[in-house]
């Protein structure tokens, strides 16, 4: 965090009120469980909570195939996806904010989201002209592996570029600028393709950018869950280096931290999380920026050993809650998840920015 950040002085990260942290984490776990249950219980089709519970426990009426289908094939995968997305994005956002010591950094700061978008656009927008790619489209795009692979490849390409640059660039601020510029260039390429694409292709791409938690089922969900678990695992091992990085790179180095190696691990973890989530669900905004701030405010600590699981839980709870809202209980419509998270997230970012003491040139 920057020196003016509202978080407690990082010099004494661990000396905090333990009981508050424990109760805070417990509260978050409770929130996640509640939000998960709500998410599975609510939806366009009204199903009594008890019926949902029976189906979840495997005691649903066998004849009621529609309800079973909705609970097991639609709501449960969607809630699990929300869980993975929320925890993954929040943790990657937290890592980026600490690494770049910038409260407005997020998973998209490295250009990863833009890279994934570039991969998707490559398939969706340019395939009309390439006869060979037509075969890819025939396989069915939405939710297909082609899309996931393209997005992953795009994110990975950007990640490779950023990692290569990270090895050369010592200054994290420069790295942040590099990420933003990569995002800008990829965005421009996508715009160019859109300009020359048929409206139907643009529609398709536009829908992808709205983000969606649905449609990630079966093997897709398994892959997403595995990659997110891997990314979260890597992130948790980075808790101590992240604490040291809070003090600045030079200080961290003097503490004996191998800064370059830690930085690589952090970037790798973020790339896995943001890349896989964007690949499967589209770019989902603001969770990555907003949740770390909320977590710090709620838990009142800057210790990443607490913050990482905290952000993980709060992110999951938040995305689950957003998904409940996106389904507009009682209506047949689902709002794009990206719209809901941004509507909630933007005010949070505003709040964070505005409540910072206004710094005059020191």
């Amino acid at each position: 965090m920057s020196p003016a950040s509202p978080t407690p002085s990082p010099a004494t990260p661990v000396v905090v009120r333990r009981p508050r942290l424990t109760s805070g984490l417990l509260l978050l776990i409770l929130l996640v469980v509640l939000a998960f249950l709500f998410d599975v219980a609510l939806g366009p089709v009204r199903i009594p909570v008890l019926t949902v519970a029976r189906h979840l426990l495997g005691h649903g009426a066998a004849a009621d195939t529609a309800t079973a289908f909705i609970v097991h094939q639609i709501r449960l995968p969607k809630a699990l996806t929300a869980l993975a997305v929320g925890s993954g994005l929040a943790v990657s956002g937290l890592q980026m904010q600490t690494l770049f010591r910038n409260p407005l950094a997020g998973p998209s700061a490295l250009g990863l989201t833009a890279g994934a978008g570039l991969g998707v656009a490559l398939i969706m927008l340019t395939s009309g002209s390439a006869a060979s790619a037509l075969a890819v489209r025939q396989l069915g795009l939405a939710g297909s592996w082609a899309l996931v692979l393209a997005a992953t490849a795009g994110a990975a390409a950007v990640m490779a570029l950023v990692l290569a640059l990270a090895a050369r660039v010592r200054d994290n601020v420069v790295l942040l600028i590099v990420g933003l510029m990569v995002a800008s260039v990829t965005g421009a390429i996508v715009s160019l393709w859109q300009y020359f694409s048929a409206p139907e292709q643009i529609q398709e791409y536009l829908l992808w950018t709205f983000g969606a938690l649905g449609g990630v089922t079966g093997p897709h969900l398994a892959v997403l869950a595995t990659v997110v678990a891997l990314g979260l695992g890597l992130a948790l091992t980075s808790a101590k280096p992240l604490n040291a990085l809070l003090l600045g790179e030079n200080y961290a180095r003097s503490l004996g931290l191998r800064v370059r190696r830690s930085r690589t691990l952090i970037i790798l973890s973020t790339s896995l999380l943001a890349g896989s989530i964007t690949a499967f669900c589209g770019p989902i905004g603001f969770v990555g920026i907003a949740v770390p701030h909320l977590t710090r405010a709620l838990l009142g600590t800057a210790d990443h050993r607490i913050l990482l699981p905290g952000a993980c839980l709060l992110g999951a709870a938040l995305v689950l809650a957003c998904d409940c809202l996106a389904q507009l209980p009682g209506s047949q419509i689902t709002l794009p998840i990206n719209v809901v998270t941004s509507l909630l997230g933007a005010p949070v970012v505003l709040w964070v920015v505005l409540r910072r003491p206004i710094r005059t040139a020191a």
Partner: protein, 413 residues
Amino acid sequence: MPHSLPSSGRVGGTTFTFWRQPSGWLLSLLLASHLGGWSQARVAPPRPPAPATRPSQAATPAPAGRTTVQYAKGFRLAYVGNYKVISIQNPFEPQAKVMRYLLVPRGAARPAGYPDAQVIETPLRSLVALSSMHVALADFLGSADLVVGVGSFKYVSAPRVRQRIAAGQVYEVGQGKELNNELLVAHHPDLVMTTGSPGEGIDHFQTLRAAGVPVLINSEWVETTPLARAEWVKVLAALLNKEAVVNQKFDAVAREYQRLAALGHQATKKPSVVVGLPFKDVWYVPDTDSYMAQFLRDAGATYHWDRVKAPSGSLALSFEAVAPVALGADYWLQTGSLSTKAALLAQDARYAAFAPVQRGRVFNNNLRTNAQGSNDYWESGAMHPDLILADLLHILHPELLPTWTLRYYRPLR
């Protein structure tokens, strides 16, 4: 946009079916359907059995050299002295500007009055068709050779026009912002026909109008029935002085359509149908005022959203809202660009639970897709609602048309 006409989706892997809208407004549309749709979707009053298959006026034979509009609500055609007046408006926005076009014999003076109207000299000797449906209009009237330019070569199916494209006799002018004004001004066709909202879009064509190239904005997408959409061919017929041809050919299509629709209405069994292909959480289904809903009514189908109205012509429903209907449906129609069951399941394995998939009753309307990927359903199909209805009847009620061979639909194997 190229091939915008069907205003719906033969989108690669998905079907975004904006059943009536020109897809150029996709942003506003998507936003409207996502943000506004849920508050505005409402249940329409029950409709009489089959109003749209009945002509809106008594079908009196038109005088020689004239034709009358019987189904379409978006345009009017008047014969005044030696010229004709075409008025195009949006019936859903009565306050919106009505666009007038004066069809004047070549060389005759501009009639007095109508200060805002564009003058088009008839009969046309050349036509630039920005949308593939306009190619179909010309082809239907036996005037495919008048098509000298198209929006995009990729989206043309008509064999005669494809031949002419191969022979280098047709130029490609692009669409929307990419419209090649210089090429058009240089060739100076007798008319550029495009699709859009009456009144709104004409500003985009200031350059052409200044150069004296007339631009006619069709808005066949406002129509709510297949016959009304097809009847827009009378606009081109008036421009070509081919009223006699259109009276004979369109009436034949309308008679056949109504004969088939009567069969569909009499069917005692009404199989249930789901339409379209979801994209993750969203499943766009046609609303009550879409011509697709009318097709289903006339084909003797049960359609779950038959009476639900949406502002954009299609309902953006969540997957969960449609899935229970799809699970128990008899048939599933129009699965985007997918042509095989394997591709369908590759997109989302959950479709395997849908009854139509299990019973092999999934049909797509992309049988006539050419090497360029252009689907003739949106081109010649727009002029042949009778053939499409026959396909649907054959699919939904095999006993009614046992010997019919599918023309536009194909089963997913």
